[in-house]
């Protein structure tokens, strides 16, 4: 009961409300067309990747880090898979596995670099991003690689009952697993502890370094999945893949209520936020708006909503005794 009340006051709840209203509005605006199987399929089809990149960012935010390399890691993995299958005839499952591992390794590398060099994660991922962009270009140059088995593409475009795209379901499964991992497993809790209050975590025998590494690796792994879904669902992969991931990856968790200082796990919030952003796309198509207007509106809305949300929570702030140390936004955990 009490916890129910608590939930009612959460960001998730607000987002849910906004999302529902928005959706109903769109349905009406499209004279119900939006409810057609095809329209719904398209709507969900392009939710899969945004959800995943949002989560990939959320995980690192949870330990008070940032990952600027989301797009680079994803794009690099996708292109690697494409090249393996198209140019070297590597069988699909193997190629996908390799791609996934590459992405995870990239994440692991980020984590290790942050921990070993003690350089701020912001800068480290900035550097790895540059490197990976280079590698991605080296892999595919300017071509669009698409000569990979039809089977993969049909997986990417298959939809259960013609409504629920497989790739969307995959994304949801990943989200679910992540939620369980963060809420119910020891490493997950330790990860959040490190993010919430590194000093306390250390005094309680939790290795913050380990948490940081785990977070970055997880982020990489999730991006690996995102890359797989991308290559499966897009007409091909080229150097532009991942180019537009960075801002959405931050938008989703932040709108979802993640704290940049770490310690917050907002899987549901991130997913809901991704939905809302997606609705904006749909609206754009529906009313054939200029993209500029969309950005303008998104910016204004995000600013507005976040501001309103914050004013509420800030009242609480000063009265609480137990606080995370005011770590810098992008401050690394040490």
């Amino acid at each position: 009961m009490k916890s129910l009340l608590r939930f009612a006051r959460t960001t998730e709840m607000t987002l849910l409300a906004i999302g529902v209203v928005f959706f109903v509005f769109l349905v009406i605006a499209s004279h119900g067309d939006l409810l057609e199987a095809n329209s719904l399929r398209v709507l969900l089809q392009f939710l899969a990747v945004p959800v995943l990149i949002g989560l990939a960012q959320m995980v690192v935010l949870a330990v008070g880090q940032l990952n600027l390399a989301v797009g680079a890691v994803g794009g690099f993995a996708a292109c690697a898979m494409g090249v393996l299958m198209a140019d070297h005839g590597v069988p699909v499952p193997l190629a996908l596995l390799i791609g996934f591992l590459l992405a995870s390794l990239a994440g692991l590398a980020n984590g290790l670099l942050v921990v070993l060099t003690r350089i701020n994660g912001f800068i480290v991922t900035l550097a790895t991003m540059t490197v990976l962009l280079g590698v991605q270009y080296r892999l595919v140059g300017t071509r669009t690689v698409d000569a990979y088995p039809q089977g993969l593409k049909s997986f990417g475009s298959y939809a259960v009952f013609g409504v629920l795209p497989l790739i969307f379901l995959v994304a949801l499964v990943v989200a679910g697993l992540l939620a369980v991992m963060l809420r119910r497993t020891v490493p997950g809790r330790q990860l959040l502890a490190s993010g919430g209050n590194p000093i306390a975590a250390r005094l309680s025998g939790i290795s913050n370094d380990r948490s940081v590494i785990i977070a970055h690796t997880l982020s990489g792994a999730i991006l690996g999945v995102a890359a797989i879904l991308t290559i499966a669902s897009s007409p091909g992969v080229n150097k532009s893949i991942g180019g537009d991931w960075l801002l959405p990856s931050f938008a989703a968790p932040i709108i979802g209520g993640a704290l940049l200082t770490g310690g917050s796990a907002v899987v549901l919030g991130t997913v809901l936020a991704a939905f809302i952003v997606r609705f904006v796309d749909t609206a754009r198509a529906e009313f054939s708006l200029e993209p500029s207007w969309v950005n303008f509106v998104v910016g204004t809305v995000v600013l507005g909503s976040v501001v309103l949300g914050q004013v509420r929570t800030r009242r609480q702030e000063r009265r609480t005794v137990v606080k995370a140390p005011d770590a810098a936004v992008a401050g690394g955990v040490s």
Partner: protein, 510 residues
């Protein structure tokens, strides 16, 4: 028999020899005090024992077996529980999770909420603390938070419990409760290490004592029964320490500088009346969370004042913020929260002291209006002056305040208000975690400031301190003033009166 022993332990930090051949024996079923001035090495020793720091020399023995803990985790699983000096709870987590953080119970790989609830409540019960284990720790008061930390320390089935200044931020009543628990543990045959700067407590609950000075043990496991308070103090200080003698001081008959009548605040205070005259020290006493600090913050405009009026020098004023209070009313506030609000740990001592006086030092840049700068000479002269007069022991005014000991940091935090030439000074918990000698120095200083005509509002949870300094003691509880006692500077009578006031039945709300 000896449960745990640390022998000949050394610990070096860049530039500091924090521990130098320290030996410590913890007997089963006894409470052992670890005393020493600020920076003596108490916390460091505890961190070495729990495996947070790697010792540079010496051995640790548990049940006579040599042990080496690589991490707090290992020491915990070996049955060594610890409450560190630092706050130690994870904001996002529930009370239960925080208590069991070191070894979260799992079933089939997943964290088991049910068992967390049951086990946590068991430990809470042991401290007869009725808290919902599912409560987020962000909703706890300071005292509750402190007790949860102790529950956390117990939760590792600890046979050895290390408490580093557990009573620093709680009042006698919570302390009493804690002592009951300690006594219980003692009877269970466990052994407790107790670090505190409050010697009354130490003599009340401890059996044996080890005293550190500058990182080396000057007394090893002496029986407290055959030691006097003064002997212990002398050991800590390293020379004969005569009890504090304050010169007589009379409060001049004058109109109050600061006067509150019927003040209510957004943070829940209800008609608070209070007045401080120049040259007077008014003590504001109460349990943790009584609302004293909040009252101070409301006075400074950090929280809204919703009712009543505040008069400064007889005039009704509306103070907007600290700046306003300082510039227009000459009011200063020495915060209770030294590390977060008192000093800028990552800035130089010099800037920490000068921060309030830059306005005054400003020099016009040539003829250009509005363009002015802070002349370095004047600044450093002023800083040097205060460093000298407050006896802040530093190598250079440019070193970071974060590298100073608690005592010196507190001096810095006070210096900036003296430098600002304030006439009304609100001092909140000035001597928390500060050793006997420095404490005395502060008492002399505060006393002397009053003698020089400052009006001082002293907030403290340290009853002896209150009784030494205050002219009048105003008692607060639940954000209301519960009464006032004229101070006769006699511990026994005063303490009784004050405690009685605190527990008096609440008057029907006006």
């Amino acid at each position: 028999m000896t449960l745990f022993e640390a022998s000949e332990v050394d610990k070096l930090f860049p530039g500091v020899r924090a521990l130098d051949g320290v030996t410590l024996k913890l007997e089963a079923g006894s409470v052992h005090a670890l005393l020493g001035e600020n920076g003596a090495g108490k916390s460091t020793l505890i961190k070495v024992i729990t495996g947070l720091y790697k010792p540079d020399g010496g051995r640790l023995l548990l049940d006579g077996q040599p042990v080496a803990f690589g991490s707090p985790h290992e020491s915990a699983s070996a049955g060594i529980g610890v409450v560190h000096q630092e706050r130690n709870l994870i904001p996002g987590f529930t009370v239960g999770e925080n208590i069991l953080l070191q070894k979260l119970p799992t079933s089939r790989g997943l964290v088991d909420r049910g068992r967390i609830r049951s086990e946590a409540s068991r430990w809470l019960a042991e401290l007869d603390l009725d808290l919902d284990p599912d409560l987020p720790v962000t909703e706890l008061s300071v005292a509750q938070a402190q007790l949860v930390e102790i529950a956390k320390a117990l939760s590792v089935e600890s046979r050895v419990l290390l408490l580093d200044e557990p009573t620093a931020s709680i009042t006698p009543n919570e302390a009493e409760r804690l002592f009951r628990v300690v006594a219980k543990l003692k009877n269970d045959g466990r052994s407790v290490l107790f670090v505190s700067h409050k010697l009354e407590e130490v003599f009340q609950i401890c059996d044996t004592v080890t005293v550190l000075r500058d990182g080396s043990s000057v007394l090893e496991s002496g029986a407290l029964s055959d030691l006097t308070r003064d002997q212990v103090v002398d050991l800590m200080v390293g020379r004969v320490h005569e009890a504090l003698k304050l010169p007589p001081r009379t409060v001049p008959e004058a109109a109050p500088l600061l006067e509150l009548s019927g003040v209510g605040t957004a943070t829940g205070h209800v008609d608070v009346d209070l007045s401080v005259r120049p040259g007077e020290i008014v003590g504001l006493y109460g349990l943790v969370g009584a609302g004293r600090s909040e009252l101070a913050k409301a006075l400074l405009g950090l929280d809204r004042i919703t009712a009543g009026e505040v008069r400064v020098r007889g005039e009704v004023v509306r103070i907007r913020n600290v700046r306003d209070a300082l510039k227009n009313h000459k009011i200063g506030y020495v915060t209770e929260n030294r590390k977060e609000e008192g000093v800028f740990l990552e800035q130089s001592v010099s800037r920490n002291i000068a921060v309030t006086v830059w306005d005054r030092l400003l020099k016009r840049l040539g003829w250009i209006p509005g363009l002015s700068y802070v002349p370095r000479k004047a600044e450093s002269a002023l800083v040097a002056d205060y460093v000298e007069q407050l006896g802040i022991r530093i190598a250079s005014a440019e070193q970071l305040a974060g590298t100073l000991s608690g005592g010196n940091q507190q001096k810095v935090s006070l210096a900036k208000w003296l430098a600002a030439k304030t006439e009304i000074l609100i001092i909140d918990e000035p001597t928390v975690g500060i050793d006997v000698r420095t404490k005395d120095a502060f008492h002399t200083l505060i006393w002397d400031l009053a003698a020089n005509g400052l009006a001082i509002l002293l907030i403290t949870s340290d009853l002896p301190e209150m009784i030494t300094l205050a002219d009048r003691v105003v008692v607060m509880r639940d954000h209301r003033v519960r009464g006032e006692v004229a101070n006769d500077h006699d511990y026994d009578t005063m303490s009784q009166q004050v405690i009685r006031l605190i527990h008096a039945e609440a008057p029907a709300p006006a």
